[in-house]
């Protein structure tokens, strides 16, 4: 019998997702997966990350676990929170100016994206943070997947009040198992708020890491994001910054650190929704061994968003002959008085620079490390918090030291 309502052939991963969504009562999301399946390369925003091929299995839903301990990074003065297999753990009293709570269900704006549907359908409780107007906060959120291989959908919703200043660090870690993490962060910046949002994937090689970050910027808000992929075998972060207030500015940055056998994708879709906003997306990828890094960057400028100033840049550094760096910039501009651009470069370590350092007596391995650090400096230097800056440098150094 012909079944025209089922245009895609569903694999084991999709069948598991559909069953999980149905049992969570998320029938609409289950229907989306049933009809569309996991995105293939024919879905433009997944062009280089074909999930139908890359994600063959989805483990059972993670069970609540209770093993709160030290945060992943030592950051002086930070207030630490933990999400384990999706459940929120608060350690100690929140400082003045920060309200911590939970909200039920997903946090992401519904959009035509399977991972968003799945997260909204499966996230049970979301961590909610409110930074009061004018307050200054450093918050670290450790998102962990523990125990046997598990599928975890967790969510965080953050409001940063008018004129507040916040540094929010999210780390992704967990037990070494074939987890699938589907993480959502919704971050809204009030007028003139200044926010640094750093996410670092340090999960195990066996893990597949998916994150969707949504940002909303009001008038004069300043956002700096740094997405670091340095863990999972398959990682993908999808960024949706929306500049919705005049004077808003976003430095959307990211770093793929990709070793042999890994696939790492950062995809961004920035919306300039009103006039007089600016963004400076800057991404870097370093690949070694047989590995693949992907950066896609789309700038959407609405019809009324005149005087938009936006420049997307992706730079790739390939440390081996088998490494791949894939780059796709896109501009979708409906306004007529804007300055928008994109650029992309890709190459190996510069031979002349290397020779210069060697000629001063610096041994090759050290010289290469210096050049790689130099390549990344543009991303890490702007992180003002000293401890965070140092922690990030440590992660990069650790990645370099593990070799391969």
């Amino acid at each position: 019998m012909v079944r025209p309502n089922f245009p895609v052939r569903l694999g084991a991963a999709e069948e598991a997702l559909i069953a999980q969504l149905k049992s969570a009562g998320a029938d609409q999301a289950a229907e989306r997966v049933t009809v569309a399946g996991l995105p293939t390369r024919r879905v433009e925003s997944y062009h280089y990350t074909d999930l139908k091929t890359l994600l063959r299995a989805v483990p059972p839903m993670g069970q609540p676990a209770n093993q709160v301990d030290v945060p992943a990074l030592a950051i002086a003065g930070s207030y630490n929170l933990t999400l384990i297999n999706g459940a929120v753990f608060q350690q100690g009293e929140a400082p003045a100016g920060l309200k911590v709570g939970t909200v039920t269900g997903g946090v992401l704006t519904t959009r035509d994206d399977i991972l968003v549907h799945v997260n909204n359908g499966l996230a049970r409780e979301a961590l909610s943070l409110d930074v009061a107007s004018g307050a200054e906060q450093i918050v670290q959120i450790a998102r962990r997947i523990e125990g046997e291989a598990a599928h975890v959908a967790d969510a965080v919703k953050i409001f940063v009040g008018d004129g507040a200043k916040a540094t929010i660090v999210e780390t992704f870690t967990g037990s070494k198992a074939a987890h699938v993490g589907n993480h959502a962060t919704y971050l809204a910046l009030g007028k003139d708020a200044v926010v640094t949002h750093v996410t670092i994937d340090l999960s195990g090689r066996e893990t597949s890491h998916f994150a969707t970050n949504e940002y909303h910027l009001a008038d004069g808000a300043k956002l700096r994001t740094l997405i670091v992929h340095a863990g999972a075998g398959l990682s993908r972060t999808h960024l949706f910054p929306r500049l919705g207030g005049a004077g808003a500015h976003a430095d959307v940055t990211g770093l793929n650190l990709v070793s042999d056998g890994q696939h790492s994708d950062i995809t961004m879709e920035t919306s300039h929704a009103v006039a007089h906003t600016s963004s400076q997306p800057l991404f870097k990828s370093i690949t070694r061994g047989h590995s693949k890094a992907v950066v896609q960057g789309k700038l959407i400028v609405a019809r009324d968003a005149q005087k938009t100033d936006a420049k997307f840049m992706h730079q790739g550094l390939m440390l081996s002959d088998e490494a791949e760096v894939l780059s796709k910039p896109e501009l979708e501009i409906y306004a007529d008085d804007v300055v928008c651009g994109h650029g992309s470069t890709c190459g190996k370590l510069d031979e002349d620079s290397l020779f210069y350092l060697l000629s001063r007596g610096i041994p090759k391995a050290e010289a290469e490390t210096m050049l790689v650090r130099g390549f990344i400096a543009e991303l890490i230097d702007p992180i003002e918090d000293d401890a965070l800056n140092e922690a990030l440098q440590g992660i990069v150094d650790g990645w370099l030291l593990t070799g391969q």
């Binding site: 020779f355 000629s359 610096i362 210096m370």
Partner: protein
């Protein structure tokens, strides 16, 4: 007899299939400053790169002895630790690498290779300050990434400052005068002359004689078509300036 600081014997080198050095012989005794003059394309800069060990060049014949030790099998960093310093004609800009970080790494790497302890931070800072003062390298320059945004003169001053810090036994100065105005030339020359201590040897590669008014050489060699074709005292440079390189044959550049 004291071992010469540099002895080059019948050096042949090529890049890809093209032979550029065609039998270079040169001896620089301790403490002497030798100049190599030659037209563009004669292979002068190639000689400096081959001395420093740049990978692109293949040595097909001959020897290079630095303080009696054959350095041809050494990596560039090992040659540096053995006492060789090349002041680049075009110092490389390296964004993201802080000048101070670089200087410290270079000094300590060389000390380590020679079995000496690392320089303490205060000692390092003092050494940089002293060397910088002499060459008008101020702290603003040192705070910038390595050579990034430096003017031509600043780059050359920074090169000589590195030389002062690294204290090589042989300094090779590749067209150090190129891109310098008179004032910068004087500062750089003063810095170089301050490092002439009767022990350190130098090989000054230049196209023009004017540099040799400031850094007065003990011996001048004329380089043409991949080898030294004539040697003499500093007056040879004046003769070259007056007559040009036409008398030395080879292809015009």
């Amino acid at each position: 007899m004291t071992t010469p600081v540099l002895e080059i014997r019948n050096l042949h080198a090529r890049i890809e299939e093209r032979e550029i050095l065609k039998g270079v012989n040169l001896v620089i005794p301790q403490g002497e400053v030798h100049a190599i003059m030659g037209r563009n394309g004669s292979g002068k800069s190639t000689l400096s790169y081959v001395l420093a060990g740049k990978e692109d060049y293949e040595v097909t014949e001959g020897e290079i002895l630095l303080n009696g030790e054959n350095i041809l099998e050494m990596e560039p960093d090992e040659r540096a630790a053995a006492g060789l310093f090349l002041a680049f004609q075009y110092p490389i800009e390296i964004p993201g690498v802080a000048t101070m970080t670089f200087l410290k790494a270079a000094i300590n790497a060389q000390r380590k290779a020679r079995g000496e302890g690392e320089l303490s931070t205060p000692d390092f800072m003092r050494a940089v300050k002293e060397a910088g003062a002499q060459l008008n390298v101020d702290s603003a320059m040192l705070k910038r990434p390595l050579n990034v945004g430096f003017s031509g003169g600043e780059k050359k001053r920074a090169e000589i400052m590195q030389m002062a810090l690294l204290k090589p036994s042989l300094a090779v100065l590749d067209e150090t005068d190129s891109g310098l105005d008179i004032d910068a030339l004087q500062v750089v020359s003063k810095g170089v002359n301050a490092l002439r201590d009767g022990k350190r040897s130098m090989l000054v590669i230049t196209h023009y004689q004017r540099l040799l008014n400031h850094i007065v050489p003990d011996v001048v060699h004329v380089f043409s078509d991949g080898r030294i074709v004539e040697s003499g005292d500093k007056d040879l440079a004046l003769k070259l300036e007056a007559e040009g390189y036409a008398n030395y044959g080879g292809e015009a550049a």
